[in-house]
Amino acid sequence: MAVRKNITAITVAEGTAFINALRQFKTTSANGRNYNWYIDQHVLYFARTADDISHAHQSPSFFPWHREYLRLLELDLQTVSGNPNVFIPYWDWTGTAHPFSADFLGAITNGSVTSGNFSPSWGWSLYRSSIQTNFLQRRVGVNASRPTAATVNNVQSYQVYDQSPWDATVSNSYRNRSEILLHNRVHNYVGGHMATREAPNDPAFWLHHCNIDRLWWLWQNSNGPDTYQPRTGSTAGVVDNNETMRPFANGRTPSVVRDIGALGYSYQ
């Protein structure tokens, strides 16, 4: 049972176990996947796929798709490292604490990560970069500011999970408000590769999405655990509650990922 902790609460040993497992997963497969498989899926499922469904973004399955994506990565990191206690920490970006330190995700935040953790010499390589470079890029705070606690509270107050037309235009939608005002904004706040389609090149991706998942879980605690929309039928272009989310295994539906306890983790 993984307990996902705030980056402000993790020990150096826990942080080190996480980043070393990421590095190891770059070059070693586990459970038939490696790190770059995750980048492939993010690029592929960002776009509307051949089934004419938006699985990962700009659609109701934004939350459950990433919940399954993170759970799978956490499992693979535990497998590849042989350490069942490895977990994905979360980054609550409303506070001043950030993960960009020398002993964690690397201290360079204004351009190329040329040295230290997540540099090529440390053992990190880029994959499918749309920027011609071997160095991870970050431009923290240049293009956007962090969401404030007030913005988070406002987003969390939307009680409708999602509704037609189930896309990026829905106004009264917890899912769309979170996706645009919190999720997109932090991608733009970190900048560099985090601003790109191949954003999982930056390990900050996982800490950011872990916080998004935690906020959804808090929202579920207030609004009900079984509140995914759309519930039934075959709504065009989106994943219904009992429809498999690709590329995950058959039966990995929004419904089966609604309870994080059943998935084997919790938030502290």
Binding site: S130, Q132, D167, T169, H183, G191, A195
Partner: protein
């Protein structure tokens, strides 16, 4: 420079109704000189296009920003095209909610994203956001820093 020009010409050629032979000839012509600024300059035209007089949009631009040549065409055979240092950046149109930071009411508009500003749609239109494509180009130059676009950024994708 010559190779880049020829490839770009072929890309445009593939998108429009020109034969490969025409595109190659145009590419050889283009390869002879570095295109000077000015979207209407004859030496700066996409393959097969002889004269942009009737194709130019008053919003088109071809200029330097932070040391990079940014070039935007708003209506090239019905498409928007953006090049940064002669490398194509594929653009994708999405209808999305915009929530202005100044507290004014949210609204639905059409935004443009690319592999680089993937979470930051930019509005481009003929009125309030007539400078949108240039704004998008500058955002991307800022994300690129000292580097150039990779080939992956030229691939079209749908949302």
């Amino acid at each position: 420079m010559a190779k880049t020009n020829r490839r770009d010409v072929l890309r445009y050629g593939a998108a429009g109704a020109v034969t490969a032979a025409t595109a190659v000839i145009a590419g050889q012509e283009l390869a002879s000189a570095d295109p000077p600024p000015g979207p209407g300059d004859k030496r700066n035209l996409p393959g097969g296009v002889k004269d942009l007089t009737n194709l130019l949009d008053p919003r088109d631009f071809d200029e330097l920003f932070k040391g990079k040549k940014i070039r935007g065409l708003h209506n090239l055979r019905g498409r928007k095209e953006l090049m940064i240092n002669n490398r194509r950046l594929a653009l994708t149109e999405i209808k999305t909610l915009f929530v202005p930071a100044d507290g004014s009411p949210p609204y639905v508009g059409v935004g443009w994203i690319s592999a680089l500003n993937h979470y930051d749609p930019v509005e481009i239109d003929d009125s309030r956001n007539r400078d949108g494509l240039r704004k998008l180009a500058k955002k991307v130059v800022d994300i690129l820093g000292d580097f150039e676009l990779a080939d992956a950024a030229a691939q079209d994708h749908a949302h």
